[in-house]
Point group: C2
Chain length 585, copies 2
C-alpha cells in the first residue's frame, strides 16, 4: 500500500515537472534552438558558415535534380525540397552539422507512386510523413526506430542502393523502354533493351564516374586551412558533383552546336522560379480519374508508415554520427524534420530527411551553426530563378553516373563477413530483408525485416534458459530450478513443462525447489502456471517449495491459490533450506 | 571450428533420429493412439465408457442444436459436428477425457459469416481451420498459442460469454426483430424491441434456467458409485441439459394441443438423416451472387487465422486441465483436431474443438478410453435418424435459457480482483481485449490483445534495467555497468545512452567498466553500439574497459573495431581490475 502511494506521489511530481518544463524558457530554447545559438553568434563563424553553405549548395543542386529524377518527378521538385526545408531547419534544427533535403532512398521509395500516378502523390507523402514524424516526436515515439536492427538497416540500404543504381542503367546507356520500379525489373529491362544502347551516353556516363573518382582522390590530403593551391584542390574535390554536371552540360552544348542535333538525352525544360505556395494536394486527377483524399491514402498504403520511419531512421542516425559524442535530442530532431516536411509540402517539396553526403560535406567544410543552411538556400534560389535555362543542357547520363557513384558509397560489404563469422541468424535476417526489398519493394522489405527480428526476439523471450540442477543432500536430494531475472507470459508454459519433465527424472522423495532469488518480474500467466505445477506435482505426492520470492510475487501466487502460502520460504541457498527442513522433521 | 563441427554432427544425428522416429512403431502408436489403447482394452472399461458416452451424448444433442442456433445454422449442423469428429477423435485423440464438438465460442465466431452470407461459409471455415491446425501441428507451431496470455484469454472468454448470452435475449423474451452480431448491437436491439416481449417465452426461458440450477444442486454430493437413488440423482443432474429440453418440448406440445396454436417459437423442421458426404463448398451462391473460392476467403478474412488459433487454445487448455498431471502431447492433439475439422467439413460440420462442459462431464462420468465417444456418436445417429420430428417441438426459449446458464460458468470474476491487486497493466490488457471483442468482434479482440501484450513485452525487452554503480578506489573511481543475461538489438541504443549519460556525472579520471560477466547473448547491433560508445568516450579522453566478455562476444566486438582488442580484460571483479591497472602504472 505504501508502495502504491509512493508511486502515486512520484507520478504526480513527474507530471508537475513535465508541466512546468513545457512552459519554461529553457524548453523554448530546446524547442526553438535558434534562440540558443543566434545570440551567441560570432563574426568569425560567418565566413566558415558561408564556405560550408557554398560547398553544400553546389552538391545540393545536382543531387536535388538527380534525386527528383530518381523519384520520377520534374527536376525542380528536388530543388524545392532543399529550399523550404533548409529555412525551417535553421530555426528548429538542433544539430549544426546536419543538412536536410531529398535523399536517394526516400526518392526511390516515392518513385513507384509518382511513376504510376502523379507528382501530387509525392507532395502528399511529404505532408503525411511530416505529420507522422511530428506526432511521433511530440509523443516521444522515436524509440520505435530502435526496433530496426543493424542487419535490417544494412539489408535495406544495400537493396536501396542496388535498386537506385539499377534504375539508372537506362539513362547510363541511353536505352529505350522504361527503367522499371524494382531492382529485378530494372535489370530485366536493361538486359532486354541493351541492343538499343547509344554511343555518347555510356561514354559520358562512365566518364562522369571516372571523373568523380579522380576528383575525390585529388582532394585527399588537402584541407580547408592549407595554402591556396591545396585549398582550391580541396574545394574543387568537395564540389565534384557540381563540377561533373557542369562538364557534362558543356559537352552537351558543344555536341549540339557541332552536330546541330541533340545526340544526348538532356534534362530539358525545368520550371523556373520559386515554387508555388499553397495547400498540399488532398485530391488529384490522374488521367481521367479523380482521386479523393481516401483514394490517395489507399494508393500510398504501407508507404505512409514506412516512409516516416525511414526518414526518422536516416536523420537520427546522421545526427548521432556527427554529434561528436554529444547526446542527440532525438525528439527535437523529429520535430524539426516533421515541420520541414509539413511546411515543405506547402511549397511543392518531395519527402525530405537528413542527407548523409551533404551532412558529411558540411562537417568537413567546417560549418559552425545551422546558419550555414542560409547560404545553401540562397544558392538554390539563384539556381531556380536564373539558371534553369542553363540546366536544360544537363545530360541524363551525367546524372546517372553521379547517382551510381553515390550509391557505391552506400554499400557495406564488411558487415556480411562479420555476420557470417559471428551470427548467421542475423545474416539470414539481412539477406531476407534485402531479397524482399529487391523483389517486392523497399517498404515491404523493411517491414518484413522488422517483423522477422521481433518474432525471433519474442521466441527467444518465450524460451528462457532454465538450468535445472540436482544436488545430493544428506536426507533427500534437491532439484533446483532457478528462474531468471524476468519470466514473461509466453515463457509460462515452457517453465511449467521444464519443471514437470525434470521432475520425472528424479526420485519421488527429491525436494523440488523453484528459486526466485533473482526473479524481479512475473506475469499473472506465469504465476498461474506455477500454481498449476503445484497441483500437478501434488497429484504425484511430490514436494515443491518456492524459495526467496519477493513479497509482491508471493502475493500474486497466494492470491491465485491461498493454500500455497506455506510453500513460500526464504533461505540463503537450497542446501541450507534442505538442512532446515530435515531438522524440523 | 571444432565447435562448428560438433554442431554439424549433432544436427546430423538429430536428423537421423528424427527420420528413424518418423518410421518407428512407437511413432505410429503416438500418431494413431488407438493402436496403443485398443489392444489393452478390458471388458470392465466397457460399462464405464458406455455410461460416460450416454451422459455426454445427452448433453451433446441439446448443446449441438443450441450452438448451431448460436451460429445461425440449421440445427442439424450442430449434430453433424459431433458426429464425424466424434469418430475421428476415437482414432487420433491422445487424451481419453476430451470430447470434441461444436462450442459456444466457435459458434459465436462463425455466426457473423453465416448470418450475413450462408451456411456454406461455416463448413468452409471448418475445412480451412482444420488445414491450418493440422499444418501447425505437423510443423510444431503449437507454441504460438503460448503468446495468448491469461488476461487476453480471460477478456476474450468473458466477452464471448456476454456476446452469446446477449444474442439469446431475443429468444428468451420472444422478441421480434433481429438479435444482432455484436454484444452492443444485441443489447441495443433488446432495448428497442422489449415492448414486443411475449408471455410464455420468458416464463419458459427463466423456468429453464431455474430448473438447470436446481438440477445441478440436486446432484451435489452424489456419485457414480453410490446406491441406486443417489446414482439416479447423479445421472439426472449430469443429463440436466437434455432434461430441460425434454420438459420444454413437452410443455410446447401440451400448449399446442390445449390452445390449438403454437404460442412458443419452436425450432421447427430439422433436416433428418445423416449428413450428405462430399467436398466442402469451395464456391457458393448467396442471393443472386456467386462467390468463388477467393471471394469466400476474402469474406472469412481475419477469421481464417483467429478461428484455428482459438480452436487450438480451447482444445489444448482442456487437454491440459484434464490430463491429471500427465504431459499432454500438444502436437498429437492438434493433428487430431485438424483431422476432425477437415474430415468433418466433408460431412457438413461446423468448426469444432474440445468442449469444456462435455469433457468435464466425461471425466466425472468415469470414462476410461476414447471409446466412450462411440456411444455418443451412436446416440446422435439415433437422434438424427429417428428423433428429428420430435425435435420440432424444442422451444427456442428453452435453448436460450440453457445457453445463458452455460455462459455464466464461463465468466471469471476472480481474475479481475487479482489483477487489480497485483498487476494493473495486465488488467488494462484484459479490459482492452474485452472492449474490442464486444464492440468490434471476437476475432479482432483476441488479435488486439495478442499484439498489445507482444508490444508491451518488446518494450520491456528494449529497456532492460542497467544498474550503474560507482565504487571509490585508491587511485581512480570506477563506474561499473553490469550487462544482464541477454541484451537485444532494440536495447542497444538504450544501453549506449545509459553509459554516456552516467559518464557525464563522473569525474574525467573515473574508469568506466562494462561488465559482461553474466552476459550470454548480444546482437550485432549491440556490439556496434558498444564500439561507438568507445569512440564517443575516447573523444572525451575517457578510459573504458570491457570486463569478462566471453570469447565469442569479444570476437564480435573486435571484428567491428580491431583497435578495441586491448580493452577486453578478465578479472574477478572491478576492484581487483582497478588494482591491477594501478600496479601496472
Amino acid at each position: 500500500m505504501t508502495f502504491l502511494n509512493t508511486n502515486e506521489e512520484t507520478r504526480k511530481r513527474k507530471f508537475k515537472k513535465c508541466m512546468s518544463d513545457t512552459c519554461s524558457a529553457k524548453t523554448l530554447k530546446k524547442r526553438l534552438p535558434i534562440l540558443e545559438w543566434l545570440p551567441k553568434y560570432k563574426t568569425e563563424f560567418l565566413i566558415q558558415d558561408i564556405i560550408a553553405g557554398i560547398t553544400v549548395g553546389l552538391t545540393a543542386i545536382p543531387q536535388g535534380i538527380a534525386y527528383a529524377v530518381v523519384a520520377g518527378l520534374p527536376p525542380e521538385h528536388g530543388l524545392y525540397a532543399s529550399l523550404t526545408s533548409g529555412i525551417i531547419y535553421v530555426f528548429f534544427g538542433s544539430c549544426y552539422n546536419v543538412t536536410v533535403g531529398p535523399t536517394a532512398i526516400l526518392a526511390a521509395m516515392t518513385a513507384r507512386y509518382v511513376s504510376n500516378y502523379s507528382p501530387d502523390f509525392a507532395i502528399l507523402a511529404a505532408f503525411l510523413s511530416g505529420i507522422m514524424i511530428l506526432v511521433m516526436g511530440v509523443l516521444n515515439l522515436g524509440f520505435l526506430v530502435e526496433f530496426i536492427s543493424m542487419p535490417v538497416i544494412s539489408g535495406f540500404t544495400t537493396a536501396a542502393a542496388l535498386q537506385i543504381a539499377a534504375s539508372q542503367l537506362k539513362s547510363l546507356f541511353g536505352l529505350s523502354g522504361s527503367s522499371g520500379d524494382y531492382f529485378a525489373e530494372s535489370v530485366y529491362n536493361f538486359y532486354n533493351n541493351i541492343t538499343t544502347a547509344k554511343l555518347w551516353e555510356p561514354v559520358l556516363g562512365f566518364g562522369t564516374m571516372v571523373m568523380l573518382i579522380l576528383l575525390q582522390k585529388m582532394g585527399q590530403g588537402c584541407n580547408r586551412t592549407d595554402g591556396f593551391f591545396k585549398q582550391m584542390r580541396w574545394f574543387i574535390s568537395l564540389s565534384r558533383n557540381a563540377v561533373v554536371v557542369v562538364v557534362g552540360m558543356i559537352i552537351a552544348y558543344v555536341l549540339k552546336v557541332m552536330m546541330d542535333a541533340e545526340p544526348l538525352n538532356l534534362i530539358g525544360d525545368i520550371g523556373g522560379g520559386l515554387p508555388k505556395f499553397g495547400w498540399p494536394p488532398f485530391t488529384t486527377v490522374v488521367g481521367n480519374e479523380t482521386y479523393s483524399f481516401t483514394d490517395m491514402m489507399n494508393v500510398l498504403g504501407p508507404q505512409s508508415v514506412a516512409l516516416p520511419l525511414v526518414a526518422i531512421l536516416e536523420s537520427v542516425a546522421i545526427a548521432k554520427a556527427f554529434a561528436d559524442g554529444a547526446t542527440v535530442d532525438a525528439t527535437q530532431e523529429m520535430i524539426a524534420l516533421g515541420l520541414c516536411n509539413i511546411i515543405g509540402s506547402f511549397g511543392q517539396s518531395m519527402p525530405i530527411t537528413g542527407s548523409f553526403t551533404r551532412t558529411a560535406l558540411n562537417h568537413v567544410s567546417g560549418v559552425k551553426t545551422p546558419a550555414g543552411g542560409i547560404t545553401k538556400v540562397l544558392l538554390i534560389t539563384v539556381a531556380l530563378t536564373s539558371l534553369t535555362s542553363t540546366f536544360y543542357y544537363i545530360p541524363k547520363a551525367s546524372l546517372a553516373g553521379l547517382i551510381i557513384i553515390a550509391m557505391f558509397s552506400m554499400l557495406d560489404y564488411a558487415i556480411l563477413g562479420r555476420l557470417w563469422k559471428n551470427s548467421k541468424r542475423e545474416l539470414f535476417v539481412l539477406v531476407v530483408t534485402m531479397i524482399v526489398c529487391l523483389f517486392a519493394g523497399l517498404e515491404y522489405g523493411i517491414v518484413t525485416g522488422i517483423i522477422l527480428e521481433a518474432a525471433m526476439l519474442l521466441y527467444k523471450v518465450a524460451r528462457p534458459p532454465v538450468d535445472v540442477s540436482i544436488t545430493k543432500c544428506q536426507k533427500a536430494d534437491i532439484m533446483l530450478v532457478p528462474l531468471s531475472d524476468s519470466v514473461s507470459y509466453c515463457a509460462a508454459e515452457h517453465v511449467r513443462r521444464v519443471v514437470l519433465k525434470a521432475s520425472l527424472h528424479t526420485l519421488s522423495e527429491t525436494l523440488i525447489i523453484i528459486d526466485g532469488t533473482s526473479l524481479r518480474n512475473m506475469d499473472f500467466t506465469v504465476a498461474s502456471n506455477l500454481m498449476s505445477v503445484v497441483k500437478d506435482l501434488e497429484k504425484k505426492s511430490r514436494q515443491i517449495l518456492f524459495m526467496n520470492f519477493n513479497s509482491q510475487l508471493k502475493n500474486l501466487c497466494t492470491d491465485i491459490d491461498p493454500k500455497s502460502e506455506a510453500k513460500f520460504v526464504n533461505a540463503l541457498n537450497a542446501v541450507e533450506l534442505s538442512d532446515q527442513l530435515t531438522k524440523d522433521v
